[in-house]
């Protein structure tokens, strides 16, 4: 193995503990490990505080003069507004149960990537300025001074947390380091420290309705393109209504679905499904994004971006909303949207127009997940399916962090997969469902410049994929998250070559037998249906 020529850089994981105490801030910014700061024009467009140009590698970060007061005031404010924040800062016993649960720790060995220490980076400041024991006992009680170095360290480590909440599952008190990271990022924003990979999509979304900045006419042409492509593959011409008033259902998916690959095939899958069941629905260009990069920045920005969904549903006069495959989109919709921008009293309780099923669990929010919707169709035998069209795929399923730990959507996608493919294998149980491992690039960290961090963070996930790849020959990793679809392919290419990534509704689209379709010779990717070209498991060996 050591003699193998390695074309790519090798990643070392070193678990030795550094000599110096964690209380001394680490502020090293090595190329490949950090995200670029936000361009000030995005901050200006969104009217965020203290926009400026700077670089993490600069000595001087050009913080505002009163940065310390701003941060401490920001902390105090949030301590009073969030029980989670105050409680989680107070009650950690440093038992360490969360430590080796974080993918960034497993993949980097850096002890500050243990959730407990990540939180201590902030907790130590809380102790110093807001608790009696910290004021009296100082360092002995784990309190430290707020310095510029500490702020730099925050920027480093709170942008090495994907807010995946895996740590929270294992903590005896449910301490959720994601909450701590969210607060820390809000504090960083107060002094103008943001990353571009979050703010550019957010600014785009604010203006054009979607993260990718696709204007309405481009949306239309992309849809037209999809219609042509589908006609070529299936012989059926599908209808795709856009901004249509009076439709029964508004459909919202992450914008990557209609612009990126392999998302595109999931998009095709949605279109085929809706056509086949004759759904009375519409897309919207104004609310052409389900995802919400605001969530990775602050509750306020999340709310500002999320507002479009209900307001568009109201304008178009639909009855309820259906949502596509996306992870953090569903964290927002399931746990925040109704609180942010509800009540949605102008909508009706969702009922499937095809099966008559009442989606009672979404009675208040009035938004249903497409996997819930499709699973219900399948259960009621409303779809004709030919799983053999997915015969080239040996499939496994990655629970995205947000639909898992933010929602509990475990069985619906699995039920669908079992109906549309012939071979389905679970990854080891320590790595799925509530214990699922993050792709390593969530919460706005899916940039190019931090690839090393992403590959490290994604290592535990890739490792589980590798297990089923070698054991069962799995060659397709399915998921219901747009970030996953964007970030898992490079991850797998590095760690487990030979496994591809697809959305669940791509496989639905393949298997779905349409009325009046021609005989299909290719899947939605345009590849022949047989497995001849599918990579063999042994090709994965190279990675070792």
């Amino acid at each position: 193995m050591a003699d193998e020529p390695s074309k790519e850089k090798s990643l070392e994981i070193d678990y030795t503990i550094p000599k110096k105490s964690w209380m001394e801030p680490s502020t090293e910014f090595r190329k490949g490990t950090y995200c670029y700061p936000a361009a000030s024009r995005h901050e200006k467009y969104l009217e965020l505080p203290h926009p400026r140009e700077w670089q993490p590698t600069d000595e001087d970060w050009k913080l505002p003069e009163d940065w310390r007061e701003v941060i401490l005031r920001g902390m105090e404010d949030r301590l009073n507004r969030y029980r989670s924040y105050r409680l989680f800062l107070d009650i950690c016993v440093r038992c360490g149960a969360c430590a080796d649960k974080c993918h960034f720790f497993i993949g980097s060995g850096d002890p500050k990537n243990m959730p407990v220490l990540r939180a201590e980076l902030l907790r130590s400041i809380y102790r110093k300025y807001f608790t009696l024991s910290g004021k009296v006992f100082g360092k002995l009680a784990g309190a430290r001074e707020l310095t510029e170095e500490v702020v730099k360290e925050w920027f480093s480590y709170f942008y090495q947390c994907t807010e995946c909440r895996r740590c929270s599952v294992f903590c005896p008190y449910g301490i959720d380091t994601c909450e701590i990271t969210m607060m820390a990022r809000e504090l960083l924003n107060l002094v103008g420290l943001n990353i571009n990979w979050i703010l550019e999509p957010a600014a785009n979304c604010y203006r054009t309705g979607n993260h990718l900045g696709i204007p309405p006419h481009a949306f239309k042409s992309t849809v037209d393109f999809a219609v042509d492509e589908l006609q070529e593959i299936t012989g059926v011409k599908v209808e795709v209504p856009i901004n249509r008033k009076g439709a029964e259902i508004l459909f919202i998916s992450p914008s990557a679905d209609y612009f990126a690959s392999p998302h595109w095939y999931t998009f095709l899958g949605y279109l085929l499904l809706f056509h086949e069941i004759g759904l009375d629905y519409t897309w919207s260009t104004y609310a052409s994004e389900g995802g919400n990069f605001g969530l990775f920045h602050s509750a306020e920005l999340a709310k500002r971006l999320n507002a479009k969904i209900y307001s568009e549903a109201k304008r178009l006069g639909v009855k309820w909303i259906l949502g596509g495959e996306c992870g953090h989109m569903w964290r927002v919709i399931h746990q925040y949207m109704d609180t942010f921008n509800g009540p949605a009293d102008f909508l009706e309780e969702p009922v499937s127009p095809i099966t008559g099923t009442r989606f009672d669990h979404a009675r208040s929010t009035k938004m249903v997940h497409i996997c819930e919707f499709t699973a219900d169709l399948m259960m009621n035998n409303k779809l004709r399916l030919d799983p053999s069209r997915n015969r080239k795929w040996k499939v496994t399923y990655h629970d995205s962090c947000n639909t898992a730990r933010g929602m509990g959507l475990f069985e619906e996608p699995r039920y669908i997969l079992r109906n549309v493919c012939q071979e389905f294998y679970e990854m080891p149980e320590n790595t799925i469902k509530e214990k699922t491992f993050c792709c390593g690039s969530g919460s706005g960290l899916g940039a190019d410049e931090n690839m090393e961090t992403r590959l490290r963070g994604g290592f535990p996930r890739a490792n589980a994929v590798r297990y089923v790849h070698e054991k069962f020959g799995v060659n397709l990793l399915t998921c219901i998250c747009a970030i996953d679809r964007a970030t898992l392919p490079p991850l797998l290419e590095y760690w487990v070559p030979g496994v591809e990534v697809a959305g669940v509704h791509e496989l639905v689209g393949n298997a779905l037998v349409l009325r009046g379709e021609k005989e299909r010779t290719t899947n939605l990717r345009g590849e022949p249906l047989d497995s001849t070209i599918s990579p063999s498991p042994s090709s994965g060996e190279r990675a070792g």
Partner: protein, 354 residues
């Protein structure tokens, strides 16, 4: 392609080399503090005869600080809003009728939440799920169940509780029969005189384990603060002084009970002629009680209030209200159409105006 620099049995595994460069300032501070505090009682009692100070003033003061501090912190949490509905879901949601929902790990009823909390609080269930990750070979992660911490934590907390309850016999007259039974059960396995309680042994072993793990596991050592060692040592001090009083340096229990009852009646009298160990025991307990609200020991009330565990996973079913919600600036459809109207018209998308 893949290297781990230092091969690692488990990140939480023990290797002798872990102890190399053994330098834990925090531990030495705590040890010194405990020694200093012991010294303080000895001087106070033996040298200066401050018996009333240590047996009346300090315990009352500690209790006062405990009650005030405890209430203050709990009220502070309880009055902080929970703006968003953020349970950490760990089981199948309730959605379609034919999919079996998990009412404990994804509770959809209050009963479910109660069960979830009860399992967490009484059985430390999350620690039972604990697993350690091992790097078996390059690029091979192995997950192994790791219940030692769960075992140690359960042993420590439950024996602590039993010991606490046994102590009620000093404060209640007549002693309730449940306490008597508890005491009998706790000493059931032996006919020894003096009786050795099972819980005394368990708590000593458990404390020893909790303490040692903070030293030998490099990651745990790295995160440990002085205060973490301090509480363990303080409790160890309490237990040891208690056990010694019981087994070797006998204390006049009649005296102790009289003192305790008098304290309760608010007519305090200092105990006479009791062993020095009793003063140490009592002083350490007072410290623990006073320190409780200032410290991580507040996890005890905190666990009940944890919003990731005490909420139902029903946020799409029932609207959760944010009490401090405020209006935010948004980009309206009108503004959007204003900017894109022409191109929308061009491709035939419906528009509101024009």
């Amino acid at each position: 392609m893949f290297k781990t620099k230092r091969f690692w049995v488990s990140n939480f595994g023990f290797r002798a080399s872990n102890l190399q460069g053994f330098k834990i300032m925090g531990l030495w501070y705590s040890v010194s503090a405990i020694l200093l505090l012991t010294f303080l009682v000895v001087i106070g009692i033996e040298g200066m005869g401050l018996v009333s100070f240590f047996t009346i003033f300090i315990p009352y003061a500690a209790l006062f600080l405990f009650v005030v501090g405890f209430l203050y912190r709990v009220l502070k949490w309880a009055t902080s809003p929970v703006p968003f509905h953020i349970p950490t879901v760990s089981g199948q949601q309730r959605s379609l009728s034919w999919i079996k929902a998990d009412n404990i790990d994804s509770p959809y009823t209050t009963g479910g939440v109660v069960k979830r909390l009860a399992l967490d609080i009484l059985l430390f269930r999350p620690l039972l799920k604990n697993e350690k990750v091992e790097m078996q070979a390059p690029q091979r992660l192995l997950f192994k169940p790791s219940v030692l911490l769960w075992f140690g934590a359960m042993a420590f907390h439950w024996s602590f509780l039993v010991i606490l309850l046994r102590h009620l016999r000093f404060f209640l007259e007549p002693v309730p029969s449940t306490i008597v039974i508890l005491q009998r059960v706790d000493s059931i396995f032996q006919g020894l005189i003096p009786v050795i309680y099972i819980t005394d042994i368990i708590i000593l072993v458990a404390l020893g384990y909790l303490f040692v793990r903070r030293i030998i596991y490099p990651q745990v050592r790295y995160i440990s603060l002085s205060s973490d060692y301090f509480v363990l040592l303080l409790i160890l001090g309490i237990v040891l002084s208690g056990v010694l009083m019981r087994l070797i340096y006998k204390v006049d229990l009649v005296q102790v009970k009289e003192w305790a009852m008098a304290m309760l009646r608010l007519r305090p009298v200092a105990p006479k002629e009791v062993n020095l160990l009793f003063y140490i025991h009592l002083f350490f307990i007072s410290l623990l009680v006073a320190y409780f609200p200032l410290s991580k020991l507040m996890h005890m009330p905190g666990i009940f209030l944890s919003p990731t565990r005490n909420l139902t996973n029903t946020s799409r079913n029932q609207r959760h209200i944010n009490p401090w919600d405020y209006p935010v600036k948004t980009h309206t459809y009108e503004e959007y159409e204003e900017e894109f109207r022409d191109s929308m018209k061009e491709v035939g998308l419906p528009i509101e105006k024009g």
